[in-house]
Symmetry: C2
Subunit: 344 residues, 2 copies
């Protein structure tokens, strides 16, 4: 690997001149500028950011700490984030936690070890020790969280989780459903909790039948959805509609319905969350709540950068939160319940 010294030598000028060319200092003559750039291009040389970061104090690295990237919802967020990082010459260090506490700690450690300039994280937020997040806050490191981290003043992206769920329940009850099941998300997820709270509230409000067993196993994967739905479908009095934590969970419910010989929406209506691109080609197309994931990613990225800039210029960092509103997309997985359930 060539160094800045080599480039200087090759182009016959001083190292400081090479540095000046790289950083567009005005005092460099057109002539030498070209000469230096030619040598740089020929050798495809770039300054070592590690070395630059060491002295300059910034690595242009942003840690992306997500649960996984297998959910298309998260992939969209990643691309949204990248779309703003790239033009600003920031880069993403992708770390997945698989929704495990120990891996979240580990990811944070890795992020620190690379001296990232900032991070965007989807942390576990409910019923877990949050002291690792506290330490980030105390250290004053730019950090944006997906969803509010209770008690810690980070900038965060907010979703109208409860309201969306209430809207879904309202819609289903208008269709005539009285027995609505709920496949809740991971226990440690705040959005899952908020959705569940919204669900409980709406069920009460609408005076629907509430049975504890209608709140099925939590989780965020297709497999979780399959297992949770299987259980609900095998109840003596099964729900006629099912609200799922996300579209992947809904997909699992589709599979469970098929295995149980239930038709959608004939025997059971199914609603998802996220509106991933493929939801529209599910069989039948999935009714779901659209989240503007790409924009959500963009907002988080812009926000970290803003905090990084503030920190660098010594200004006080004022945290912000932005609420994104879900939109109910009605497709064909929902319909009025049949008169005589499962009797055919």
């Amino acid at each position: 690997m060539l160094t800045m010294n080599d480039i200087a030598e090759l182009s016959g000028c001083a190292r400081s001149t090479v540095y000046a060319v790289l950083n567009h200092k005005s005092w460099v003559s057109e002539n030498t500028r070209k000469k230096v750039q030619k040598v740089i291009a020929e050798h495809q040389w770039t300054p070592d950011r590690m070395a630059a970061g060491l002295v300059g104090g910034s690595t242009n690295l942003i840690a992306l700490i997500l649960k996984d990237v297998l959910n298309p919802f998260n992939s969209q967020i990643v691309e949204g984030i990248n779309s703003v990082l790239r033009p600003l010459d920031y880069n993403a260090l992708l770390l997945s936690t698989m929704d495990e506490h120990s891996r979240e700690l580990e990811a944070l450690k890795v992020a620190r070890s690379y001296r990232v300039d900032g991070m965007i994280i989807t942390p576990q937020q409910v019923g877990v020790d949050l002291s690792h997040l506290w330490k980030i806050k105390e250290a004053g490191e730019p950090c944006i969280t997906f969803g509010c981290s209770p008690g810690i003043d980070f900038s965060y992206l907010d979703l109208d989780e409860g309201a969306s769920t209430v809207r879904i329940v309202g819609y289903l009850s208008e269709l005539g459903h009285r027995r609505i099941g709920f496949l809740k998300g991971p226990d440690t997820s705040l959005s899952a909790k908020q959705r569940e709270d919204g669900f409980r509230e709406a069920v009460m409000m609408k005076q629907l039948e509430y049975r504890p067993e209608y709140s099925g196993k939590g989780g965020a994967t297709l497999k979780d959805g399959f297992e949770g739905a299987k259980k609900l479908f095998s109840l003596e009095v099964p729900p006629t509609a099912l609200i799922c934590y996300n579209d992947l969970v809904a997909a699992g419910a589709y599979r469970a319905a098929e295995e149980s010989g239930l038709s959608i929406p004939g025997d059971v209506s199914i609603v998802g969350f996220d509106d991933i691109e493929l939801a529209s080609v599910f069989g039948p197309p999935l009714t779901t709540v659209r989240q503007p994931c790409f924009e959500m990613g963009q907002w988080m990225a812009r926000q970290v950068i803003a905090e990084i800039d503030k920190k660098r210029s010594g200004e006080p960092v004022v945290t912000e939160s932005k609420q994104f509103i879900g939109e109910l997309i009605i497709r064909e997985s929902t319909a009025p319940p049949r008169g005589k359930k499962y009797e055919n």
Copy 2:
């Protein structure tokens, strides 16, 4: 941020002792080891990898240069890669090229600027200038490519693209299809080319009707599939079966079929490639070729690490390729053609 010096001071010993503790040198007494580790844990300190990399010559960073992460197929590969990198303490710098030449160049530059230890790349391989890849090879940098890069001796992951396509055509022709359409992938993709070649060959072999207009618009996204399929469906004599570059393209074809009032597989059979997790909940469930993406990611990761280790120890790097075999998964999107096409 604390430094190693600070840690030494805080634990009342020499910097070299802290270093020794970190690197498990045997000569450190149990007592001081514990003392140092306590201080490290208290302050959540980790050595600065940038600084360490600067002198030690390795960053433990692997560049992942993919087209995008929006295709669940790629997400699986990413998770497969991460699953082997993480336990070995390597980390992924994720760069997406959106299948644009300029962004591929840019990504390579970014990778170089961070002095990554190695890279895994899905490059454009057909009809483009490959000199940037050549330079990587010349520089002796560990690099694994997804698919063979013509003329450049990288270790690469090989797929039996042609054979898979031949298998699909065989299957469709057994069902009785004589007019088979093909939605080819991106022009710059080698796998797309190989699939197309396989398709041509198989169509000849089986003496099926070949029409140039049956080879539809290339691309890798749902939108591409939609547009390509739309065109094929509006032909005077449309194909009765459609082979799609990947499952996302197939999803686009599903939408096009719906818009065109065609039923799957009644009016047209559709086959995809990849077997993404959601293919089984498509309406109808998609017949497709399963690729072991997670394992593919794992293989590539193991291979870069192997090359990095070889390079470090001064051994000659011997490139390898490994072929992965696709498996035709027959679901419900394929059936014999109807006697009288599109007539009723």
